[in-house]
Amino acid sequence: MAPRFQPLDPGLAPASFAASFHRFRRILDLNNAVIETIAELERALAGEYVFDRKFLRESVDRLNELLREVIFSLNALADNRYLDLYNRYEEIAGRLTILAAGFGGPYDHSLVLPYDLVDGDLNELVGSKNATLGEIRNHLGLAAPNGFAVTRVAYQQFMEGNDLFVQIDAVLAGANGNRERADRIALLFDQARFPEPLVETLARELEALLEHCGGPVDLAVRSSGVGEDDGPRSFAGQFHSVLGVRPEIQAVLAAYRQVVASRFSAAALEYMGKTALSRDLPMAVAVQEMIPARTSGILYSRDPERPDSGLMLISAVRGLAEELVAGRVAADRYTVNRLHPFDLVESAILPEPPSSGPEQNALRILPSGLRRGSAMLLPEMLKRLAETALLLEKTLGGPQDLEWAIGRQLVILQSRPLVLPRLPPPPPAEITSELAAAKPLLQGKGEAAQLGIAAGNVYHVDDDTDPDLFPVGGIAVARFPSPQLSPIVLRAAAIITDVGGPTGHLATIAREYRTPALFGTGEATAVLTEGAEVTVDVENKRIYPGILAGLVRLQAAQASEAEPYLRSAEVQALRRLLRWVAPITLVDPGAADFTPAGCRTFHDILRFSHEKAVDALIHLHASPQGSKGVRSRPLRVAVPIKLRVIDLGSGLSPAAAATTGVVTMDMVQSQPLVALLAGLQKETAWDREPAPLDFKDVLASMSRPLSMLTNAPAYVGENLAIIAERYCNLSLRLGYHFNVVDAYLSQEPDDNYIYFRFVGGFADKTKRARRVKFIAAVLAGLSFKVNSQGDLLVAKAKTLDAGRMVSILTMLGELIAFTRGLDVHMRDEAAVEHHFQKFLHKVRVLPVGDKE
């Protein structure tokens, strides 16, 4: 990494400033290198690169090195105030190293894991049922029971601690018939003892679960075999579940014993066949709260007998569905269209059961106040179930067989792959001719953010679209990949945007929800018309008109082969490690958890460090040792402001170095200071003709809630500009208010930022607050993120190209001059609006609405 700034001239700059500035610049460089590496990993996951295991190891090594140096540099800059960052760093770096080396991760030796920590990546440890429920709860935001997984490690300890594998092998080899085998194995399980560490861990976790549930609740203990739901066979119903388990450790242990023993029941032995080994299908177990269900049932997201019919099947019973699952009771049956709006195609409603108790009778009055006919599910709930099924089908990668319950809300009890007759993929020749006949609407444009193929109707969306109104299964088309679209990405079959790339926030969301996503096509909103049927192939960056059945079938066939690429160890490792690297969870610098301990990912550490580095630099000269002994020189400006400058390097021209005393404007080389002063000195700007502009966005910003902010600044110095060629820190007292502008301006948009802080004033508190409100409104229209509280305002703008930096800095200079003494005029709220308009009309404003 070559330094992007000139070496400092020790004759001009004081050592402490120079060194600090150097460190700050180093942090910016490191910041970029980290972002680039993250972007590379994200592009690899998005499918743009073909990569291998070596690439993962090298990327993780690089990230670990870079982050360590970021933390080192920040602490050097900020008097070791953030040494705690090393703790978080070590933890995350350790996880990454393990993941990249191909090991499972930090929980590999855990006996139990609460559902809050479980997701689909832990399949091998907690079994499919637990892993899927964790994914549903923790990543998809759907309701699922509270609970914890008893892992395969616990199972192995239990089995090996009692020498059960060896003894079972002996029984399997010796006894005659599965019935006799099962009976003898059951005896072995009856005699088995629980290892003490397992009992202790389970008891602790049980206590935590009950606390989480707000008191004792009955439990369900179910099997969650590792590999139970993979492959062509489904073990549905083969293993025992124990319901209504008392919330006590002995009861849970007894249920656990029954569940793991059912792995060797006569039926299971029969089902698994003679070739199965005793160690096959390790039994992880689920311990869950029982959901008090009013109605419950099963849903097949496709009709198993007619998978291509475009229908899904739902069955429902009163109370718990266990009997239904076991096939022992009849149920209401509904056939629903798979496409929005999920119309009911057919229903078979059972007559009222003669044995209805008083409780069920009471439920026959619907929330709508109507007495129920006989159907258990209203169209609204059928639609909700259908939507949920499609979401799960998309995110879990194939048709689902799901078990649900409705108590206070819809809860997913279980979801597993629906085993369908395997369809052969369409022959290449069929695809070739299908594609030859189709003329893509869009081709070769954009970047893949998440791979996949989807077909459906186009819906144009933006930040104002109500996600609940977006039809599940539709193709979302947007101008910008705005984070506000996240809930829509969950519902959409695919998302396509004009602007953006595979490394933004929404791209991460698309990968999380496995929504095929093609970003930055430049023209999707223009080319794809509302309501049109299209087929999207993200891999090949093509969007075809109509539904290409062959392509859709090819995708389905590949998915039914368990998607060999997406399921490969390398892709899974990359997904897992990115979860510790890419997301930013620390968003608000004013929040209480904006601390080293609050950093959950590498990106958090980076974000935190950057914020604190800017902070340290801005306040450097305010510290006691700050401006002491510094060689500052007066700068002559065209307005009555007394201003001194300190040059950190190349901020002044060589001509200035040759002289002493007053510096003139023509000697200033610092680009951000030149831009700022251009605005600040522009007295005439206030007499300009009104410009015809669209102020919609600027005005809209006034209605946004302004969040709280941190302490007031501790500055006590005079007007001072600390400058370098591309840097400027200006502290300016005008009238009775105080401004700080800190800006970096280079050709690298990612490095560029403007920080603006404004506080104080002469008039009363209310009037000062009104002035801040006015400033906030203007700044929000100039790409700033604004926080204000009372008469204090902090605004930041980032990632701007050099041209925009110059114009915004100039505007900021104009604004600073304009607001001087303005608070006195802020008699009422209308004055805010009045001056806002006055400013907009009198002073040049940049085109707004460009969110890039």
Partner: protein, 135 residues
């Protein structure tokens, strides 16, 4: 876009001992109407080649049994119009020179962009078609 006859899918052979490469390329090229076969060893790949020739071969350079140079040599010997793209971790000038003498179409360094490979494959198909027309 691709230069195959519309009812005659192009045939692509992928040989790489890291199976993820084959998995990924299968995912992509099958959706463009290619007939694609993938192998982690050179020998069975050559057997498949002899059974039914491919238009383009993408092979890793370093592999345990038969390396990419050998795949290249055999393919060019048996089917002079088939184009061979070699994936390699680093550029070793001696190897590159030898591969050029053997008639390699292009080199590609891992990790590579899919778009780069797609572009190479299409150019390779075009080159082969020119040969076949003149042939």
């Amino acid at each position: 876009m691709q230069s195959c006859d519309q009812n005659q899918p192009c045939r692509l052979l992928v040989v790489d001992d890291e199976s993820i490469v084959g998995k990924r390329l299968r995912q992509v090229f099958s959706k463009m109407g290619f007939e694609i076969e993938t192998f982690v060893d050179g020998a069975p790949a050559m057997a498949a080649m002899i059974e039914k020739p491919f238009d383009v071969v993408v092979t890793d350079l370093k592999m345990a049994d038969m390396d990419g140079m050998e795949v290249l040599r055999q393919v060019r010997l048996l089917y002079p119009t088939t184009r061979v793209i070699i994936i390699t971790g680093y550029a070793d000038e001696a190897t590159a020179e030898k591969a050029r003498q053997l008639g390699v179409f292009e080199f590609l360094a891992k990790p590579f962009r899919l778009d780069t490979l797609k572009d190479m494959v299409f150019r390779a198909l075009e080159a082969k078609r020119q040969d076949d027309l003149q042939g």
